[in-house]
């Protein structure tokens, strides 16, 4: 049974992997960006806070929230750009990208202000 489950897991993994390579390149870029952002947040949150502590608190918050915020915006962009999504068929991808850029700029202004 154990072997079957591990084999199932491997099969699952392979199928996922093959499905993923089919996705268009631009979506993969966005996925990579999201991973990068989340990973940075994890390093800040876990490694630094566990080691040193959350002083100064406002800087810590602004760092973590900027990563999470930009990750969220990237996910929104991915949803809007993905051609397989029926709801957003009429929305031009360039418009979505412009929204992404604008929201990111606003987010970073607030973060920098909060950074202190």
């Amino acid at each position: 049974m154990v072997k079957s489950t591990s084999k199932d897991a491997q099969d699952l993994f392979h199928s996922l992997h093959s499905a993923y390579t089919a996705t268009p390149t631009n979506l993969k870029i966005i996925d990579l960006y999201v991973c990068f952002a989340v990973f940075t947040a994890l390093i800040q949150q876990v490694a630094y806070m566990a080691l040193v502590g959350s002083f100064p608190f406002n800087s810590f918050l602004s760092g973590v929230l900027s990563c999470i915020g930009t990750a969220v915006l990237a996910v929104c962009l991915r949803i809007q750009v993905n051609k397989e999504n029926k709801e957003f068929k009429d929305l031009a991808p360039e418009r979505a990208f412009a929204d992404f850029v604008l929201c990111n700029l606003v987010l970073h202004l607030v973060i920098i202000n909060f950074l202190g």
């Binding site: 390149t25 993969k28 870029i29 990579l32 960006y33 991973c35 990068f36 990973f39 940075t40 390093i43 800040q44 490694a47 630094y48 040193v52 502590g53 002083f55 100064p56 031009a92 360039e94 418009r95 990208f97 412009a98 850029v101 700029l105 970073h108 202004l109 920098i112 202000n113 950074l115």
Partner: protein
């Protein structure tokens, strides 16, 4: 300078005494004369300038102090130098002639002619008011001092008109035709100048010209201002004028008196206002400044020397009537400089008490005159004249006989008078009462005029009662300003209570049950002291009545301790403990190296991102090639980069507002460029799709 300090203190006291509608003004007296010697002190035997020399010498001359011998040599040297040189200014010549008039220096034969011709040339060429003033007044002085020289004014009417042309419609004068600002001080100078022109003119003037000047004087006197105590003064309209009220009023008075003297008419001001102006200067007291002193004395001398309206001042050496001493109330009437007044009589028309302002206690009492001391006095007071504060209203009635001069007085003079007397204290007694029943346990009569040795004892369940009766000499009820009852413990802890007065009886009841906490639960021997005082009470007292033994319960834990009494009674006014502020210690930041290491660790995911991008085969193929779209695309990326750079600057240096301002500009730019780029991209991909 000690004298200056004393003088200023005197001025302050006099200033305080002037508040209120009724006040007493004293004429110039010997204290002024001794102060003048301190104020007008020459430096190294001579004065700094001829103007200061003139002011000092004129003031000392008016006050009758002879200091000429000390100063004449050096000052005369200066005067002769100025009068003999052909290049002295009009101002120097004017003041030199003024000083010469007082010191009478010896000037050679040639001197006067040069200076007269200089002044005459000055009059002809004059355009500014000050030039006219110095030259015309200089010529008037030269005419007095050098009777042999011939002085003519040329076209006097033309000069008169050109001076008049600088006047304004409200009676003020301008200093020059270019400067639109008008000044009351300049009006005074102008009237003096016009008076000089009239006196130097060879023939009579057109009466309409003189009339126009008189209407100007009337307009100027409309701008006279008033204080509450009945004094009048002139002041400049603008706030930052260089002349204050003393110099402005003095200049106007000089001008008006010299104009009136040249025209042989009166001063064109109502009598009350002239006396008010005199009182203004007397109310200044003794000025500490040399210029103010000169202006005060000079203006008062002008008021005294003119023939048609010499003000008389009513003053009182003492404003306190003591009913016990039975001394008469003395009143003096004199001119402003302290000279004798003509024959007149003084009437006390009303004496209004502060308690009942309507009815007057004394009506129309004439004061008797004592020729030896030249004072008027009132020695009999009516039977219902009780102690307290009064306002006496005096009226001066000049005798009918003809005088050389015309004197003017105020319609009525109000003076605040205080009547003092001995208060009788009767039925003074102190008693200890049982609180519930109110029955007297022990009662002692007191004689408050001498210290007693009363000895009482009480516990905290009892009350202490002190009562006495105060009556005025006429038997009326009296409420003193101060009635204090003090209990002082052996450990120097003091408590003060107020004795309340209602009608004739004054009483204090101390209920020890309620006062136990106030007395800090201190049992033992307390000294009793009573203070009764008032401004109209001549026999105010502070008497030690005796002792009282108080038996109070034990102090509970939470009660306040009595304050520590230091041996030095004035140590509570000494410096207090210094307060040292403790600022919040800033929290410790993590070590610098740790932060730098962590910075490196953070950068790692970014590098991972870039590597992943290259592995995915990211390219910039769809970067537009045509120049127009390439530029806008480039600008788009630059714009985003600029915004991010702005954010970094914001974090490092800038504040939110400048950032927002810059951001708004960049944002608008980015909006345009981005819109263009993205729409071009969109159209390009549409074309691809449809193609």
């Amino acid at each position: 300078m000690m004298a200056g300090g004393n003088v200023r203190f005197l001025v302050l006291i006099l200033a305080v005494a002037i508040c209120g509608a009724a006040s007493v003004f004293q004429p110039i007296s010997d204290s002024h004369r001794s102060a003048a010697l301190d104020v007008f002190v020459p430096v190294d035997g001579s004065y700094k300038s001829l103007e200061e020399a003139y002011e000092a010498l004129k003031t000392l001359e008016i006050l009758g102090i002879d200091k000429k011998s000390d100063l004449s040599s050096k000052t005369c040297e200066n005067v002769v130098k100025v009068l003999q040189s052909s290049s002295s200014t009009l101002k120097d010549a004017f003041y030199a002639l003024n000083v010469n008039g007082i010191l009478k220096c010896k000037i050679g034969e040639a001197g006067p002619k040069d200076i007269v011709s200089q002044l005459q040339a000055g009059v002809k060429d004059a355009k500014l008011l000050l030039d006219f003033y110095y030259s015309v007044r200089g010529l008037v002085l030269a005419k007095e001092q050098f009777p042999g020289t011939h002085i003519s004014l040329g076209d006097a009417e033309a000069i008169f008109r050109s001076i008049k042309s600088l006047s304004q419609s409200d009676g003020r004068w301008r200093y020059s035709s270019n400067n639109p600002e008008s000044s009351t001080f300049a009006a005074g100078l102008a009237y003096e100048t016009l008076a000089g022109v009239i006196s130097l003119a060879p023939s009579e003037f057109d009466p309409s010209l003189i009339q126009s000047v008189k209407t100007g004087i009337l307009k100027l006197s409309d701008s006279i201002q008033k204080y509450d105590d009945g004094t009048f003064y002139f002041d400049e309209k603008s706030v930052d004028a260089s002349q204050g009220p003393i110099s402005t009023t003095a200049s106007v008075i000089r001008g008006l008196t010299s104009f009136a003297a040249s025209e042989s008419t009166g001063l064109n001001l109502p009598g009350d206002k002239i006396v008010g102006l005199a009182k203004f200067f007397l109310g200044v007291g003794i000025p500490g400044d040399a210029k103010d002193f000169f202006n005060q004395i000079d203006a008062l001398a002008c008021l005294e020397d003119n023939k048609f309206s010499v003000p008389l001042i009513l003053s009182l050496p003492s404003t306190v009537i003591s009913l016990t001493k039975k001394e008469p109330l003395k009143v003096k009437v004199s001119t402003v400089l302290g000279s004798k007044a003509p024959a007149l009589s003084v009437k006390l028309t009303q004496a209004l008490s502060s308690k009942s302002v309507d009815s007057s206690v004394i009506n129309n009492q004439e004061l008797k005159f004592d020729a030896d001391s030249a004072t008027y006095f009132l020695d009999s007071f009516p039977k219902n004249f009780d102690i307290g504060k009064y306002t006496f209203v005096f009226k001066i009635v000049l005798d009918e006989s003809a005088h050389e001069k015309v004197y003017i007085t105020e319609a009525q003079t109000k003076v605040p008078i205080a009547a003092t007397g001995a208060i009788s204290i009767e039925n003074a007694e102190i008693a200890v009462l049982d609180s519930d029943i109110g029955s007297v346990e022990s009662q002692k009569k007191l004689d408050l005029t001498k210290d007693g040795a009363v000895s009482l004892s009480a516990n905290h369940l009892q009350k202490l009662r002190l009562s006495f009766q105060l009556t005025t000499p006429l038997g009326n009820a009296f409420k003193p300003h101060q009635a204090f009852f003090k209990l002082k413990h052996e450990s120097q802890v003091e408590h003060i209570f107020l004795v309340k007065t209602s009608g004739k009886k004054s009483e204090l009841v101390l209920d020890f049950l309620g006062l136990v906490e106030k007395l800090y639960y201190l049992s033992g021997k307390y000294e009793i002291q009573l203070t009764i005082g008032d401004a109209s009470m001549e026999n105010s007292l502070l008497s030690n009545i005796g002792h009282i033994e108080l038996d109070l319960p034990e102090r509970p834990e939470k009660a306040t301790r009595p304050p520590l009494q230091s041996t030095e009674p004035y140590s509570r006014y000494g410096p207090k403990a210094e307060i040292s502020h403790i600022f919040r210690i800033p929290e410790k930041l993590p070590a610098k190296q740790l932060s730098l290491v962590f910075l490196g660790v953070i950068v790692l995911p970014f590098i991972g991102f870039l590597i992943g991008l290259t592995r995915l085969g990211v390219n910039i193929k769809s970067f537009p090639s045509s120049t127009g779209s390439a530029i806008s695309a480039l600008l788009f990326h630059c714009g985003i980069g600029a915004v991010l750079l702005l954010y970094v600057l914001f974090w490092l240096k800038l504040d939110l507002f400048t950032t927002l301002k810059a951001l708004s500009l960049l944002g608008v730019f980015l909006l345009f460029v981005g819109h263009r780029t993205l729409s071009q991209l969109a159209s390009a991909s549409n074309k691809l799709k449809s193609a």
